[in-house]
Symmetry: C2
Subunit: 376 residues, 2 copies
């Protein structure tokens, strides 16, 4: 890893691992969920709240930040940490995924990708080199190579061509990144749902010796069952002594199932985006606060949670705030969801430390299955 | 006042007064600015933030709350304080003003006003009696009589007819309110810009002996100069030993000018609404954070403010959040504006206590006039 990064696995239960990444900006206890701070803010949250919930790293999106306010501008203002007032580690993606999902008039070549901003139509060029340059301007602690997130479904030929280009881009990213002791660079495994391609991707990346390895191209429409089939072998293809990051995943169920298969890091807009839409995650499954059944319910979302958003306000009040499109609704529900996600990850970590992950897994998933807090 | 309310004027400087209203739910130091919590939430703020800024009372809107979630529902859930988790005093308006400005198909008679909800077209009937009934169901500490806010401009005949009906409604409101030792009822002075009508209104209300007196029908399009001309005599028409509340006012300049003319209490959506639109109030005047000149400005809005929203984030960051329509923009800018309003009121109170209000007034308005923090 970057010389001043260390990763130590403290204990394993089956394939599940508990560990810690030491970084110059603080430790990241794994398995970790990283809240997404797309445009330099975890939506509807103050950074101090995010920190108080136990998040030790947040994600920034290179695509969004390169368009607005611009990487060079953030660098001049002292970097992304200072800009958004977050002093713990920041992980950035490469920008590639959002270019493909959000931008207009894309043109991808071996060189990189040309695209037009979805905001103002301005033309940009993103190459493996420029992506790393941007991530360095932002001051990102954990950076991602530019890759192509192979769409689903893809034929074996399409997936192979795609992953091989991503491998060549991995190499260029690594050259551009150079020697940065205080920052880490991850390679990204692709290969779609084809085991031999996942192997080829992993092998190519491991030969380049990255600081960590991301598992890409999952949670792109293949469904949880197929995703878990890939994870059944994918994590094992990666070195045991480096962190494994499953990109863009997922639901609480996705998280615990993936930890069980050896994943250490996650990011997803799920808890924040769902919160803005009135959908809450709890230990008894999902609750849709827009549902009229909550209109007279005096109970909080979770009286046992230490989070004020979960234990203090009645479901009737939260329902009312949603109905009235009040700012406080996304503020409270995002807070609640991130609290639940961090509580879940803390529970997972503790259970692995205490050699009872499988029991924790069974109890937790059983409670979710009993569901629905709305009916309690 | 309600038996368990007391109002004491501690000191006066010219017409400016500093005092305290003791209520069963806590003291309100006057002159006071009351943040508006329209639908049971001060928009984009946690109640604890509002409290930490020094606000000792917030406003609830009867019109909004009677439509959603409904007064009877709030009563069943334990009242508005519990519903919104605010344990200090709440002042409610009568609903009349919003019926006239927001609802559809209104029909006003001596009895009251029939209207259709602006949300779903449902029909409602608001009478002086029903307004008080609703405010009692909400558990409001300081209630307002139903009145007609005389529109501007109005002929003397229109203004006279209007204020006389409001006086009859004041009487009916008082009868309905009855004997409630823990709650207070204010009468509302009308009379438009006509001094003899303001006198008639004040005389009628004072004879009924209300717990406090609101000054209504101002800040409705007449302009600051005309408003202050009315205030030059209006406050003096009201008893010295009762609080005077100027409804729906205003800008920082409106506040300090009105205090200077004897007003004790204010409410306005100005700081919260402006904050949501990127407009900030500071000791050096207004700042529009949407302006491109802020894009690279590393300075906070006010480094000397104790409020994190004002002293921690760069104008460049706040500008960026506004441009991206991020939730954090209204969250931070509302917070900043309410902090500035509370800081202004605290400064006003302290200066009156120390017999230097006129100096404070001159210094403060001079700084505003030098303006524009954007150019500093």
């Amino acid at each position: 890893m970057g010389k001043n990064f260390k990763f130590n696995v403290k204990n394993t239960n089956g394939n599940a691992r508990v560990g810690v990444i030491n970084t110059p900006r603080g430790d990241i206890h794994t398995p970790a969920f990283m809240p997404v701070g797309t445009a330099g803010t975890v939506k509807a949250m103050y950074t101090d709240q995010v920190k108080e919930l136990g998040a030790e790293v947040v994600l920034g999106n290179t695509y969004h930040l390169m368009l607005r306010p611009g990487a060079e501008r953030i660098e001049k203002l002292g970097g992304l940490h200072k800009f958004m007032q977050w002093d713990k580690p920041i992980l950035t993606d490469s920008g590639g995924f959002q270019v493909m999902s959000l931008s207009k008039l894309r043109k991808m070549t071996e060189q990189g990708v040309e695209f037009q901003s979805h905001i103002d139509g301005r033309k940009y060029n993103l190459t493996p080199e420029r992506s790393i340059e941007i991530q360095c301007l932002l001051g990102s602690d954990i950076q991602m190579q530019l890759d192509e997130c192979t769409p689903h479904p893809a034929t074996e030929k399409q997936a192979a061509d795609s992953l091989r280009m991503s491998l060549r881009w991995a190499d260029r990213s690594k050259v551009q990144f150079g020697d940065r002791p205080d920052q880490a660079l991850f390679g990204i495994m692709q290969g779609s749902v084809y085991k031999d391609l996942r192997e080829e991707s992993a092998k190519g990346l491991v030969e380049m010796d990255f600081d960590g390895y991301s598992i890409g191209g999952l949670a792109v429409g293949e469904g949880q069952e197929t995703m878990l089939e890939v994870l059944d072998y994918a994590a094992d293809l990666l070195p045991k002594d480096k962190p494994r990051y499953l990109m863009g995943v997922g639901t609480p169920s996705d998280l615990i199932e993936s930890v069980r298969r050896g994943v250490d890091m996650f990011d997803c807009v799920m808890p924040t985006r769902a919160g803005r839409h009135g959908l809450c995650f709890t230990h008894r499954g999902k609750v849709n606060l827009k549902n009229a059944r909550h209109a007279d319910d005096p109970r909080p979302l979770d009286e046992n949670s230490p989070c004020e958003a979960s234990n203090r306000y009645s479901r009737a009040y939260l329902h009312h705030l949603m109905k009235c499109n009040e700012y406080l609704a996304p503020m409270l529900l995002t807070w609640h969801n991130l609290a639940y996600y961090q509580e879940l990850m803390a529970g997972i970590r503790q259970s692995i430390i205490e050699d009872r992950f499988e029991k924790f897994y069974l109890e937790t998933t059983e409670l979710w299955a009993q569901g629905d807090i709305e009916k309690i």
